[in-house]
């Protein structure tokens, strides 16, 4: 270790006890040691991947007692290890990436270490492989971190430019080939991840993927891919669509994952509607699920269910329209008085409206059968394109010699629903109306001074969002086959909102990814059922700290969060007439 200059340590200890400084000065490594420790760490982890992690068999998945092959969670060390080994050659640029990848290794080792000792009743159950995995990943972390410290000290000014250099893309033909290879690769990864059964393996996989992407992101990889996808957008969307349509054929007639994906699709569609309200227009709607519920109840009541109060059956396409219209009208009813006010009144009112809706449905026994809900909703039937017999969504079908479970019907319907919503979102967002919405979000006073009627456009956005939720709700009633008040709680509104924020406000892929995270992960993390909400909460806090713009941000929104400018606070301090308006006249838009 290099000796710390006496004056420096003197100063730090004198003025304040700066713990991170102290740790750094203790842990600082000189050039040669960094490589020695790093390589030793990599070798340790490498060995650990092929060594036993549990000392006796007790049902921990992945044959962890066996040596000589990387079974179970151990296999997920390998991709990260490969990445780390490559990163050695890119130092010091790759130091941040190295730290992230090493953290991933540490998480995998640590998680399995704890899980094995937990399930095996004590540390005795942990074999030497897990110990050296821990040791090795710590060494790697140390080695890469000391590179970072060196940069922070300003001794070496090279590196750390990867994220900021201009993105260079290959020829268009290569771009298309990359997209062409990348999308199926993603699909394969996705199907593979769904097949990972045990939660220990799944958590390790998530650690591996998370750390891997974090590492690649610090090398500017995602800037590059997002540029690539922006250039080849149509092509990528078509490929993704094909991939999504092919998915049911990979399921061997098993409907389980289709079912999960259907709920993801339905909620993603609703999330797009919410994205118009929250992401584009900047209105906080805390009762959004109520509009979804309105659609669901309309659809349930008009489908002549087994346990219902209304005995009519209306064709589904009509029901879809009715559900959307009713939800939109209720949206206007709620929004019209509220949207004239400034500030947070809308959040409060929508919060209240969500509860009112739920409680009404719970007590209106004559129509909604109260807490029992409406059950036994029949399968959808739509006129068939090919024959005279209508297409029943309850039937399994044989297509191209592959048998598709009945859920595939709903799955395809969800894809159509999502595409419809996405088209609605992108076309409206990319027009005069969308610009007016964004202008209101950015600065309502300036927008109205440019001729935008704020009440009108906020109402339009709110009602459109509501009717999109209603449309998604009509589909969801048929998928779940029953509708009851307890599926439309405040928690669901919050989950949808969290999905939009987590995915990235104002983007379609963000809404899909957010819904995926919130409705797919719980299926995979059944073992953590009790602490699920705790984990989401923690994840959201971490997100807001390190990636406030969301996972797939709008390109420019990203910049907003990255550049912390004090321009606006300066404006507030000046206290000129225009800003004071906001506080002075909260009901200023109301007519006389």
């Amino acid at each position: 270790m290099t000796p710390v200059p006496p004056s420096a340590s003197h100063l730090t200890s004198r003025h304040k006890t700066n713990w991170s400084e102290m740790w750094r000065s203790v842990l600082r490594l000189s050039g040669r040691w960094r490589f020695v420790l790093g390589i030793a760490g990599a070798l340790f982890v490498w060995t650990a991947a092929f060594s036993p992690w549990a000392s006796f068999a007790f049902g921990y998945p992945g044959k962890m007692t066996l040596s000589g092959f990387p079974g179970g969670a151990r296999v997920y060390l390998l991709p990260l290890l490969l990445l780390v080994s490559l990163l050695f050659f890119t130092l010091p640029v790759g130091a941040t990436a190295g730290v992230r990848a090493a953290l991933g290794l540490l998480f995998i080792a640590g998680y399995n270490f704890i899980a094995i000792s937990w399930e095996g009743d004590g540390v005795d159950a942990v074999a030497w492989g897990a110990w050296i995995a821990l040791l090795g990943s710590l060494l790697l972390l140390w080695a890469f971190a000391s590179f970072l410290w060196e940069e922070a000290d300003g001794r070496s000014l090279s590196g750390q430019t990867a994220g900021h250099t201009a993105v260079k893309l290959p020829d268009p033909i290569w771009q298309m080939l990359l997209v062409f290879g990348g999308v199926p690769a993603l699909l394969i990864c996705f199907v593979y991840a769904l097949d990972v059964e045990e939660s220990s393996r799944f958590v390790s996989l998530i650690c591996c993927l998370g750390a891997g992407s974090a590492a690649l992101s610090s090398l500017g990889f995602f800037n590059w891919t997002s540029e690539l996808l922006a250039r080849q957008r149509t092509f990528a969307v078509i490929l993704l669509l094909i991939a999504a349509l092919v998915f049911p054929f990979t399921q061997d007639g098993n409907g389980y994952w289709l079912r999960v994906l259907i709920s993801v699709g339905v909620f993603a569609s609703a999330a797009i509607g919410l994205n118009i309200v929250v992401g584009l227009t900047g209105l906080l709607d805390l009762g959004y699920i109520a509009f979804f519920g309105i659609g669901a109840y309309v659809s349930a009541l008009l489908s002549d269910a087994d346990f219902t109060t209304v005995h009519v059956r209306v064709p589904f396409l009509l029901v879809l329209l009715i559900g959307a219209t009713v939800a939109g009208l209720v949206g206007i009813f709620v929004g019209a008085p509220t949207l004239r006010l400034r500030g947070d009144y809308l959040a409060i009112v929508t919060l209240g409206f969500g509860e009112i809706f739920r409680i009404t449905m719970n007590n209106w026994n004559g129509l909604t059968r109260g807490p029992n809900g409406i059950a036994g909703i029949s399968d959808l039937e739509i006129p068939s394109l090919f024959g005279s017999t209508p297409l029943n969504f309850g039937d399994a079908h044989e297509v191209f010699g592959v048998s598709l479970p009945n859920f595939a019907n709903y799955y395809f319907l969800c894809i159509f629903l999502f595409i419809g919503m996405a088209i609605l979102f992108s076309r409206l967002g990319n027009s005069r109306i969308g610009r007016a919405w964004m202008a209101i979000r950015e600065d309502e006073i300036a927008a109205s001074s440019m001729g935008v009627n704020p009440v009108r456009f906020k109402l339009l956005s709110f009602a459109l969002g509501a009717s999109m939720a209603g449309a998604a709700g009509t589909v969801s009633a048929h998928v779940t086959q029953q509708v009851s008040p307890d599926s439309f709680t405040f928690m669901e509104s919050i989950l949808l909102l969290a999905a939009v924020v987590l995915g990235g406000m104002g983007t379609i892929p963000g809404a899909l990814l957010g819904a995926g995270v919130f409705y797919l992960l719980p299926e995979k993390l059944r073992a953590f059922q009790d602490v699920r909400m705790l984990m989401f909460g923690a994840a959201l806090i971490i997100m807001m700290r390190y990636r406030p713009e969301g996972l797939i941000p709008n390109r420019r929104r990203k910049a907003e969060f990255r550049e912390e400018k004090s321009r606006f606070s300066a404006g507030f301090l000046k206290g000129t007439g225009e800003l004071d308006l906001m506080q002075q006249n909260p009901v200023q838009e109301g007519g006389t």
Partner: protein, 275 residues
């Protein structure tokens, strides 16, 4: 003509035919605004004629910004009315903008996360009519309207000396560029009267000079301009007519020479009477 409008500069008459006095575009009469006990505007009369540049000056807190807010519907006057081209203005911000009054703000209010071009496109709002269905259908009419709006917006950007950049958001522009963008956005409303609230605040002398030329060019396009400024050299070399406000009252009005000599103005600014 001199006898009627001695304060009117002939240069602004290019484009207007004949020798009769230019039409009054904007007339505010008896505007009074109270904030609680504070009389921010006290029965202010004000008019703007076609093609002129009017300066609005006064010490800090005189009520200049409040006057603009009042004209553009951001603050409701307690008394008084505003007429634009003889029509009574409904004092709602978007109605005022539709009628033909556009403004900039003392503390810049752009749409920070939209590109400069999108900012200006919002300014085109009143001059495009495409609704939900046409945006969804994307028919020929929609595409043409969109294309022409974009073209117009690009022209306005170009007019104030900015280049459209798709990857840039408005808040990353330099201070002077932000002020210019705000003017381009206001011009995109194709107003008859443009209200500028301290357009050169925080600018260096070179930028101030450029702003001066820009305002003159705007006037040459046939847009009347009202400009609030503390920079007296800017005001005196630019304005055809100057209105002085002090504690909400109109103190004086006239050409730069007249205003400069007015003892009440000197007193208001220096706090002493010249005698």
């Amino acid at each position: 003509m001199k006898s009627v409008d001695s304060d009117f500069s002939p240069s602004s008459l290019s484009g207007l035919a004949g020798n009769f006095p230019p039409r009054v575009l904007l007339r505010a009469s008896g505007l009074t605004v109270r904030f609680g006990g504070l009389l921010a505007l006290d029965a202010v009369d004000f008019e703007v004629r076609e093609g002129e540049i009017v300066g609005l000056i006064g010490p800090n807190g005189a009520g200049k910004t409040t006057f603009f807010n009042c004209l553009t519907g951001l603050v409701m006057p307690d008394e008084g009315e505003v007429r634009y081209k003889g029509q009574l203005l409904v004092l709602r911000p978007y109605k005022v903008a539709e009628a033909g009054l556009a403004r900039t703000f003392q503390n810049i209010r752009l749409f920070p996360n939209m590109t400069p071009l999108e900012n200006v496109l919002v300014g085109r709002h009143c001059h495009t009519k495409e609704g939900v269905w046409s945006a969804l259908w994307r028919g020929k009419r929609f595409r043409e309207a969109e294309a022409s709006a974009r073209m117009a917006a690009a022209e306005f950007l170009d007019f104030v000396g900015l280049v459209p950049d798709e990857d840039l958001s408005a808040h990353s522009l330099s201070y002077g560029d932000q002020r210019r963008l705000e003017i381009a956005r206001a011009l995109a409303c194709e107003p008859g009267v443009l209200l500028l609230d301290e357009p050169t605040a925080g600018m260096n002398p070179r930028e101030t000079q450029a702003m001066l030329e820009l305002v003159q060019q705007i006037r040459d396009r046939g847009v009347a301009v009202v400009v609030i400024e503390h920079d007296m050299r800017f005001i005196f070399s630019l304005c055809d007519r100057i209105v002085v406000l002090d504690s909400g009252c109109k103190l004086s009005e006239g050409t730069s020479v007249e205003v400069r000599k007015d003892p009440r103005v000197i007193e208001a600014y220096l706090g002493i009477s010249p005698e």
